[in-house]
């Protein structure tokens, strides 16, 4: 009888272990926003994803297979509700591995699948794009949000 109780106790512990989810293996850290700077009405301006000073940058820390979803706005907006159109094309997004020179270009707004091999520590998500102010674009500040989501493959 004593041995039976011991077995039940051990099995209970094992089941608890099985039910507890493992700690997340990946983390995402926003590093800086996409900054078009000061623009002139009527003149479009493109920020290249390799432009360290102006591109948006997020850092993925971890390893494994993931789907990266970069949600970008169609336009920036002023506090008064005026809009400034944006355009994102293929190559405006770039994923750069932390410990290698490997890069994967992508089009912001679309999903991209990546594999971060063990030992590379993670990757950077760089986002550029083009702002297209109209000829009569009212002066002032405009802003919007870029959201990046990393989803483990197979979920």
């Amino acid at each position: 009888m004593g041995r039976t109780w011991k077995r039940i106790g051990l099995l209970t512990c094992a089941l608890f272990a099985a039910a507890s989810p493992a700690v997340a293996q990946v983390a995402l850290f926003p590093r800086q926003g996409l900054s078009f700077g000061v623009l002139t009405a009527g003149i479009a301006d493109r920020v290249d994803p390799t432009d360290a000073a102006r591109r948006a940058e997020l850092e993925i820390v971890g390893e494994g297979d993931y789907t990266v979803v970069v949600q970008v706005p169609a336009a920036l907006q002023s506090p008064e509700g005026r809009t400034l159109p944006l355009r994102f094309e293929a190559g405006d997004g770039l994923i750069r591995w932390r410990k290698s020179n490997k890069e994967t270009p992508f089009q912001p707004g679309q999903t991209v699948s990546i594999r971060i091999p063990k030992g590379l520590g993670g990757a950077y998500v760089w986002v550029g794009g083009t702002a297209q102010p109209a000829a009569g674009q009212p002066p002032g500040g405009y802003s919007a949000s870029i959201t990046v989501q990393i989803i483990p493959a197979g979920t």
């Binding site: 099995l11 099985a18 293996q25 008064e80 005026r82 009569g136 002066p139 483990p152």
Partner: protein, 169 residues
């Protein structure tokens, strides 16, 4: 006991590697510089003034014969504010005292949109539709009092009014 250990091992092996999705947000920003074009349509000319006489040009009204209203054309897409630096008029007899008055209008010589104001402290532009191409005129007039010309040496007296315009929201 061995069965129990095997049970534990099986349970751990079946435990899913639960890696949750992560998301992060960064901003996207831009600042649009206000653009406008300012063109000098006409210089202010008080005309010929006999000694002891005065002259007045009132923005929004027709200029007296022989005189010309000063006019600046401002092409803009937003409201604006103006500032000015006035250099007094001087000539052969030294300084010629004058005061300057301004007013905004939609045509170079037409009625004013709003009233007149001292050019030394320009008023904000009439409200416009943001983003719409708009042309506004700044009419520049002024007054030279008769007393200012009494005993003053004849000749050409000149000065300048320098306006600076800044776009606003």
């Amino acid at each position: 006991m061995r069965k129990a250990v095997a049970g534990i091992a099986l349970a751990l092996a079946l435990a899913p590697a639960a890696v949750s999705a992560q998301s992060g947000t960064v901003s996207a920003t831009a600042t649009i510089l206000g653009t406008m074009t300012v063109t000098n349509v006409a210089d202010l000319d008080f005309g010929s003034i006999p000694p002891g006489a005065g002259q007045t040009l009132t923005p929004g009204a027709a200029a007296p014969a022989g005189a010309t209203m000063g006019v600046l054309q401002i092409d803009h897409f937003s409201n604006f504010t103006a500032s000015s630096v006035i250099t007094g008029m001087t000539g052969p007899g030294g300084a010629l005292a004058a005061t300057f008055s301004c007013g905004y209008s939609t045509t170079p010589n037409g009625a004013l949109t709003g009233g007149t104001f001292a050019c030394a402290t320009p008023a904000a532009s009439p409200a416009t539709v943001a983003g719409a191409a708009t042309t506004t005129y700044l009419q520049v007039g002024g007054t030279i009092a008769g007393a200012a010309t009494t005993g003053l040496a004849a000749g050409l007296y000149t000065g300048s009014l320098v306006f600076t315009f800044a776009a606003t929201l």
